[in-house]
């Protein structure tokens, strides 16, 4: 699984992109976020507020119940501020 972090989320986590193999039980976005929070204090802090997170799987916005599979590109980022 390819993980991407953007904007202040990337600054807080300190990583822009990584390849990960979450355990088989991590089958949806909500479980993935929970699992990521357990990876250390930086992740726990950056991902603490679910309302401040947006998630895209394979470059499409998804909800927290959306499935994630090993081949996916999963991006986690704050609400967008373009335009």
């Amino acid at each position: 699984m390819r993980l991407l972090y953007f904007a202040h989320l990337r600054d807080k986590i300190g990583i822009a992109e990584e390849r990960l193999d979450p355990p088989p039980g991590v089958a949806d976005v909500a479980a993935l976020i929970e699992w990521l929070k357990g990876r250390g204090p930086k992740f726990a802090a950056a991902l603490a507020n679910p309302k401040a997170l947006r998630v895209a799987v394979n470059q499409t916005y998804v909800g927290w119940q959306h499935p994630v599979t090993p081949g996916d590109e999963v991006a986690i980022f704050p609400p967008v501020t373009g335009g």
Binding site: Q59, T60, V80, G83
Partner: protein, 153 residues
């Protein structure tokens, strides 16, 4: 047509290219977003626009397709820049052309509202107190939500 680019763009040339030879067009609405020198009470020296290459293009195309589905557009254009910008610089341009002005205006506003809430761009401002990520505006969510309520043009 959508474009995501670092370079500046020429508003007149873009509108000219969009409309040339299409003599069924009666009106072109456009919006140009410029970088302001103040935000949240601070003087802003510059800002850097970060985006999610790949997803940005997909989202802009999706939004443009939706606008074309809702309104009888003869042509449309979205250009969004990324990278470092200074006050007065152009950030974004949306243009919509239709036989009549109401459709052009509505589609242009729709595109800007959706782009503001859906296109994966993030602004980091350079303030006298250091770099600062811009927070999303709830007014932008409200502006986008009205298109859901109304169910389109």
């Amino acid at each position: 047509m959508i474009r995501v680019q670092r370079e500046d763009f020429d508003v007149g040339a873009e509108i000219e290219a969009l409309t040339r030879g299409k003599t069924g067009i009666g009106g072109v609405a456009s919006f140009i977003g410029l970088m302001r020198d103040v935000a949240g009470g601070s003087a802003i020296r510059a800002m850097t626009l970060e985006h999610y290459p790949g997803m940005t293009e997909r989202e802009l195309e999706r939004i443009e397709t939706e606008a074309q589905r809702r309104w009888p557009l003869i042509a449309s254009l979205v250009i969004h820049r990324y990278g470092r910008l200074e006050p007065g610089d152009r950030i974004v341009m949306v243009a919509t052309a239709s036989a009549h002005r109401a459709a052009a205006f509505e589609a242009c506003e729709f595109l800007m509202d959706y782009l503001k809430t859906k296109a994966p761009f993030w602004k980091q401002e350079e303030t006298p107190e250091g770099p600062r990520w811009v927070a999303a505006e709830t007014s932008d969510d409200a502006a986008a939500a009205r298109w859901t309520k109304e169910g389109g043009g």
